[in-house]
């Protein structure tokens, strides 16, 4: 039994944070209110000023395992997740081997359970080997535990194949998650096309490569009746298309990741490869559009987009360096920066990290309500820390936020009532 006292939290029905107490019993939320008597034997955690949130639900991360253990392992990712207040991760399937086989999907679920600290929910591959040619076995993958279908960081490029994937997946009630980037326009690119990339001599990817992919897939969703989720959306133009499609009642959703609302392309500076991401960082106008879309509800979730890379992947000339940034430990802090700057309310920010991704995944978690499993994150919104590559929890140190001061310190993380961090 744990009794949290002097905390602030957001219950299922409320629109704003309330102060009070919350009791965890047998791994579930037993009760909450302004004042609960302390039951005998309860561990008391008093945290004045702190916020107790549902454990964060990360809609998009690569874990390095299987196939890239030198970058990250499930154990090290679980450690980083717990330190970042994350208790559930939806795992991308473009590992080596790709999660295109029901046995591999089951294996990831089991490996998550083994950590005791994080639930791993694998995506099933959209195509065999995530190679973009033949459909994977969506039905068997779903039965094994796949939560949706995607080729991860690979765009499903063929219009014919994407149409079939959408159509076939809809029969199993599965969404297709798309890395929205026209492959041909993006080929060989290292940064967003424009004056900055031109002067740095970097091959460019036009920002329109995203909107072109989004426009096609919205139309294919309409054609097939399928559901598309656009991952890590970064441009004003794509967001306008998604907003319009939602207004028309199409089954379209999207997420973004912290770099795209916190940074713009100028962060690349003097060829800093930790800032090489896929999709690439955009201009300031696009960043502002992402912020606005978080606030107006066009964006359905904020995902870490964790992409572990090691020094050998990154200590290269910019065009040769592997794209991707570590994101587990900074997901909460960078999101809270939008609260401090007044663009999001704290309930809005937390919903984008908990209730909304939970509902997208069809989970019965991500909210504070009686009887719900006690996946919890206790953080202090006013305490600050400085992100330092080399000192992050977990193995992957390739943070795009190196040196950034963040407000929002995770004091503790609980998985089904058991303390896993802090």
């Amino acid at each position: 039994m744990i009794l949290f006292r002097k905390i602030r939290f957001l219950d299922e029905t409320a629109q704003s944070l309330r102060e009070g107490e919350l009791l965890v019993q047998d791994g579930s939320i037993a009760d909450f209110g302004t004042s609960l008597g302390a039951p005998e034997g309860a561990e008391i955690i008093e945290a004045e000023g702190a916020v107790l949130s549902p454990g964060l639900i990360d809609l998009r991360a690569s874990l390095g395992e299987p196939g890239f253990e030198y970058r990250e392992t499930i154990a090290s990712a679980a450690h980083a997740a717990a330190a970042g207040g994350i208790t559930t991760i939806a795992v991308l399937p473009d590992s080596k081997p790709a999660l295109d086989d029901p046995a591999l999907v089951r294996q990831i679920v089991l490996r998550g359970a083994e950590t005791g600290s994080v639930t791993l929910l694998p995506y099933g591959a959209a195509t065999r080997g995530c190679r973009g040619a033949e459909l994977a076995e969506y039905g068997l993958l779903k039965d094994a535990g796949a939560v949706a279908i995607t080729d991860g960081g690979h765009n499903i490029a063929s219009s014919r194949l994407m149409r079939r994937a959408l159509s076939y997946a809809s029969g199993f009630g599965l969404r297709i998650v798309q890395h929205a980037e026209d492959v041909e326009l993006a080929a060989g690119g290292a940064a967003t096309e424009g004056a900055r990339a031109s002067w740095m001599g970097l091959p460019g990817i036009p920002a329109a490569a995203e909107a072109i992919a989004v426009a096609r897939d919205i139309r294919l969703a309409e054609l097939t009746g399928g559901a598309v989720h656009f991952a890590h959306i970064t441009t004003a133009e794509s967001l306008a298309l998604i907003r319009a499609a939602k207004d028309r009642g199409l089954r379209i959703t999207c997420d973004t990741a912290p770099p795209y609302f916190d940074l713009n392309e100028t962060a690349i500076g003097d060829y800093r490869t930790y800032l090489k991401l896929s999709p690439p960082l955009r201009g300031e106008e696009d960043r502002l559009a992402v912020v606005a879309a978080l606030a107006d509800g066009t964006i359905d979730a904020i995902a870490s987009d964790h992409q572990p890379r090691d020094a050998d992947d990154k200590r290269l000339p910019f065009a040769d360096a592997a794209p991707g940034g570590a994101g587990l430990a900074t997901l909460l802090g960078v999101t809270l920066a939008q609260v401090q700057s007044g663009h999001l309310s704290l309930p809005q920010a937390l919903a984008l990290l908990t209730a909304k991704p939970a509902s997208w995944l069809g989970l019965d978690t991500g909210k504070i309500a009686k009887g719900k499993v006690a996946d919890l994150c206790l953080f202090h919104p006013d305490r600050s820390w400085r992100v330092a590559a080399g000192q992050l929890p977990g193995k992957a140190q390739n943070t795009p936020f190196d040196g950034r001061a963040l407000e929002g310190v995770v004091l503790g993380t609980w998985k089904a009532g058991r303390r896993v961090f802090g």
């Binding site: 002067w199 740095m200 050998d312 000339p317 065009a319």
Partner: protein
């Protein structure tokens, strides 16, 4: 004298630094023509030419510049050795560091590679061309050539023609020439104009007559073979017809306009032999001579700053 640690690009230099480098280079032109050398200046210093990309001209120019100042010069062509063995750029840097090299001249096919090396080595790094980013000594030698022939390096109209998009020479020249107060135009087919270039005070033209009208200097750039087979332009002959610098198109420029080319030339593609070899208009050979003098000035300046 302005001092700086490395020469990674024209970006980061100011007009005073450029002028003093050119003044110093001018003195080396006279020295070189007199047949004398100054072997005491860099005596005991080691200069390594680290070339990840083939270049006989630039490497030879740096080699000559180093030797005329008395440096011990070593040439390393990495494309044929370590890289094929899996050695990374930074492994190479660590190796060179252990050899106590003083001046490191780097050419690399990737933009930003010399900047990456500069973070990891103790030597002064000179960018001898990185990807499609910069080639600062080429811009300096072009500036010296212009200044000697026109008597000034400001208020001139300079047309840079051809493959701007893939040209580090164009980028360094635009930065240097606009910084010194000239009017720079870029002329080429839209597929070879880098996006956003017009934001830098450069005017963009797709027509040679318009781009060359009244120009004091016409610079033709090399068009790489792989770009002329339908990828960026349909064919070499179509490119030559519309953008190749020949007698007729040169006629749009001022009567005393000078013709420049960073070399090596594709005759009959970006430039016609008749123009390239016209001693009255073409200063292409002089550019090569200025290259040695400018590189001596750069090595001298960096070695002193490094001391």
């Amino acid at each position: 004298m302005t001092s700086f640690r490395h020469l990674l690009g024209i970006e980061g230099l100011n007009p005073v630094a450029v002028t003093s480098l050119l003044d110093l280079a001018e003195s080396y032109v006279l020295l070189n023509r007199s047949g004398k050398t100054q072997r005491d200046l860099l005596r005991g210093r080691t200069l390594i030419n680290l070339f990840f990309e083939d270049s006989t001209r630039t490497r030879t120019s740096f080699e000559l510049a180093g030797k005329r100042l008395g440096a011990d010069v070593i040439n390393m062509s990495v494309s044929t050795s370590s890289v094929t063995k899996g050695e990374t750029l930074l492994d190479t840097a660590a190796t060179l560091n252990a050899m106590n090299c003083d001046l490191l001249v780097v050419r690399h096919h990737r933009s930003g590679a010399p900047a990456l090396l500069a973070q990891k080595v103790d030597a002064a790094v000179i960018n001898a061309g990185d990807g499609t980013h910069e080639h600062p000594t080429q811009a300096l030698l072009d500036a010296l050539t212009i200044r000697r022939n026109k008597g000034r390096l400001s208020g001139l109209t300079i047309a840079i023609c051809g493959d701007i998009a893939h040209s580090r020479v164009a980028r360094s020249n635009i930065l240097l020439l606009t910084m010194m107060g000239n009017f720079v135009r870029v002329v080429g087919p839209p597929t070879l104009i880098p996006p956003g270039i017009d934001a830098a005070g450069v005017s963009v033209h797709t027509d040679m007559e318009e781009g060359l009208a009244g120009a004091d200097i016409v610079m033709a750039l090399r068009l790489q073979k792989e770009r002329m087979d339908g990828g960026m332009v349909p064919s070499a002959r179509e490119f030559f017809a519309y953008y190749g610098l020949d007698r007729r198109k040169l006629g749009f420029a001022k009567p005393d306009a000078l013709v420049m080319h960073p070399g090596p030339m594709n005759r009959g593609v970006e430039i016609d032999s008749e123009v390239a070899d016209d001693a009255a208009r073409s200063v292409i050979k002089e550019q090569v001579e200025m290259g040695v003098a400018v590189r001596m000035a750069v090595l001298d300046t960096l070695a002193r700053g490094y001391n």
